[in-house]
C-alpha cells in the first residue's frame, strides 16, 4: 500500500497541471462566467439551456421561480450545475487523453524508465498504478473544484436573487441536490471505465511506439476506412464514437437513462449488466497486458 501511494503521488506530481491545476483553472473561469452573466456582461445559451440576466429581469421567469415547487427548483439547479460542471468533465477527458499518451512515452523519451525499473516495483504494479490514477484518482480530483464552483455559483445566484427581492436567499439552498456530488463521482468513475478501451489503447501506443500520436490514431483510422470500403459499414467508427460519449448516452445503455443529469446512483449498476461494458473491459485487458509486456522489454537499447 505504501508503494502504491508513492506511485500515485509520483503520477500526480508529474501530471499536476492536468489533474490538479486544470480543474481549478476551468472552475475559476466558469465562476467568472457566472458572475459576468449576473452583472449582465455575458450570457450562456446552449441547445437546452439559457443563462442570462433574464433570470432576474423577465417577469415570467421571476413568477415561475417564486411559484416553483421544491422538485422544480431541484431540477433547475441540477440543470444549471450540469452545464456549469460540463467544462470540468470535458477538461478531465482531455487531461486523461494527454496522460494516457504521455505516461509511458515520456519515461522512454527522457530515459527515466531505466531508473524507475532499477527500483523494486514490477511493471504490472506500475501499469496498475497508472490505471488507478486514470480511472479513480483523476475523476476524484475534479470534485473539489466542481464543489467549489457549485457552491460559489449558487451563493452568487442566491445573493443576486435576494438583493433583487425575487426569492429569499434560501430558495436555492433548500433545494440544493447535495447527493449529486456522490452521484457525479460514481458517474465519472463509470465514465472512465466506459472509455477505458480508448485510454488503454493510447497508453499502449505510448509504451511501444516512437511516434505515439501516429500509433494511436493511424490504426483506428485505417480500420474505419477498410471497414467502410470493404464492407460498406461503420460499426467500428460508431463503437469508437460511442466510447467517447458519456456512458449514459451511449446506445448500449437503456434509453431511459439517456441523460446523465437525471441518472440516479441506483441506476449506475445497470451499466454492469450490459455486454458492451464488459467487452470494453476485456479489450482494455488485452491492451493492458501488451502495455505491461512492452514496458517489461525496456532495456538500454530501447531508450538510446
Amino acid at each position: 500500500m505504501k508503494s502504491l501511494k508513492a506511485l500515485i503521488r509520483r503520477e500526480l506530481q508529474e501530471h499536476k497541471w492536468a489533474f490538479i491545476y486544470l480543474p481549478w483553472i476551468v472552475a475559476s473561469f466558469m465562476f467568472l462566467v457566472v458572475v459576468l452573466v449576473f452583472v449582465g456582461l455575458t450570457e450562456v445559451n446552449t441547445e437546452n439551456f439559457s443563462f442570462s440576466t433574464e433570470i432576474y429581469t423577465d417577469p415570467d421567469i421571476i413568477k415561475s421561480m417564486q411559484e416553483s415547487t421544491l422538485e422544480e427548483r431541484k431540477g433547475a439547479i441540477r440543470a444549471g450545475l450540469l452545464v456549469l460542471g460540463s467544462p470540468l468533465v470535458i477538461a478531465l477527458g482531455f487531461a486523461l487523453l494527454a496522460f494516457s499518451l504521455s505516461t509511458f512515452f515520456d519515461e522512454r523519451k527522457d530515459k527515466s524508465i531505466i531508473f524507475w525499473r532499477s527500483l523494486p516495483v514490477s511493471d504490472t504494479y506500475t501499469v496498475f498504478s497508472k490505471l488507478i490514477v486514470a480511472t479513480i484518482v483523476a475523476p476524484l480530483l475534479i470534485i473539489p473544484a466542481l464543489v467549489f464552483l457549485h457552491l460559489v455559483s449558487v451563493t452568487a445566484g442566491s445573493t443576486f436573487f435576494a438583493i433583487s427581492d425575487i426569492v429569499p436567499f434560501t430558495w436555492a439552498w433548500n433545494a440544493y441536490p447535495w447527493f449529486d456530488w456522490i452521484r457525479i463521482i460514481f458517474s465519472l468513475w463509470l465514465q472512465t471505465l466506459w472509455t477505458l478501451p480508448i485510454l488503454t489503447w493510447i497508453m499502449l501506443a505510448g509504451a511501444y511506439s516512437r511516434k505515439p500520436v501516429v500509433a494511436a490514431i493511424l490504426p483506428p483510422v485505417v480500420f474505419v476506412l477498410v471497414e467502410r470500403v470493404a464492407f460498406a459499414s461503420t460499426l467500428f467508427f460508431d463503437a469508437l464514437i460511442e466510447r467517447l460519449q458519456p456512458w449514459s448516452r451511449a446506445s448500449s445503455f437503456p434509453k431511459e437513462y439517456e441523460n446523465l443529469a437525471v441518472s440516479e446512483i441506483s441506476d449506475i449498476p445497470l451499466l454492469f449488466g450490459t455486454l458492451e461494458f464488459w467487452m470494453g473491459i476485456l479489450i482494455s485487458g488485452i491492451f493492458i497486458y501488451l502495455t505491461i509486456y512492452f514496458r517489461s522489454k525496456s532495456d538500454y537499447a530501447s531508450v538510446e
Binding site: 505504501k2 508503494s3 501511494k5 508513492a6 506511485l7 503521488r9 509520483r10 506530481q13 508529474e14 519515461e107 527522457d110 530515459k111 527515466s112 531505466i114 531508473f115 524507475w116 525499473r117 532499477s118 527500483l119 523494486p120 516495483v121 514490477s122 525496456s298 532495456d299 538500454y300 537499447a301 531508450v303 538510446e304
Partner: protein, 293 residues
Amino acid sequence: MMESQIVIKARNIEKKYADGSALAGFDLDVYQGQIMGLVGPNGAGKSTFLQAVLGLVDIKGELEVLGLSPKKDRHELLTRVCSITDVAVMPRWMTVGQVLKYVDGVHPNFDLTKARKILSKTNIKRSSRIRALSRGMVVQLHLSIVMAIDAELLVLDEPTLGLDLSYRKEFYSQLIEDYFDGNKTIIISTHQIEEIEGVLSDIVFLDQGKEVLSGSIEDLNQRFLELRPKADNLEKAKALNPLLIKTELGRPVYLYDGVDIEKLKDFGEVYPPAIADLFLAVMKKNTEEGEAK
C-alpha cells in the same frame, strides 16, 4: 571462497543482437566482498552482462544473482541489488525531495534519514529540480540514494561517464570510504580504468563477449610485471618475450606475463603494471592471436 558466498554465478552466457553477438559464452563468479571491474572495449559485452544481472535483457545460459534468477525473480532481486548507470537518467521534472520520498515509498531497504544526511553534506538542495542540477550533481544524488539503501550488490555501469575529474574522484572515494564495508559486493564497468584501479579487488577483461583475462588484482600484480631495464640489459630483457613494449620518459618499459620477479630484478627496476597498460597488452595479444587463427 565458500560457495555460499557467491553473489553472481554466470555460466556460458550468450546474447545475440541483430548486429552481432554481445556475449558469446561468458562465465563469471563474483563473491561477497569483491569489487569486480569489468573492462573491455566498446561492444565487448560489459553493459549487456550488467543488464542481464539486473534482469533487463533475456540471455541464454545460466545466471544467478544472490541465488535468484534476474528475469523471473526481478522484483525480489531489486530489493537486494542497486544500480547506477549512465543510461538510467533520473526524472528531470522531479525535485530532489520528491525523488527521495518516492524511493522511500517503494524501496523496503531505503533509509530516508540516512539519504537526507548524506545529501546535507553536499550542495544539493532538496527543493532543487533535477533538471537544474549539473550532471555531476545528479550522479552524486543517485549515489546518495544508493548509499542509503541496504543492498547486497551494487551494479555500476559507466557511473561517472561525462563527469569532470573532481566529481569522478569524489564518486569513487565516497563509494569506498562511506559505502563499501566488506560485506557488500560491487561490480563496475567503466572505460576510465585508471580511476578505478585503486578501488578494485578483482578484474575481468572482456573482448567480443568473452573473457580474455580475469583474476584478483593481487594475483595479477604477481603474474604481470613491468620492467624498466637498465641500458645495458635491453637485449636480455627483450629475450624474455615481453607482452608489451612501450616508452616512458624516453626509456623503454617491458611488460611480462609470468616471468619470475627475481630474474627481472637483475635487469632493472620491477613494478606491477597499471591496469590500463595491462589491458592494452592483453587486448593486443588477443587480437594477434585472433588474427593468427
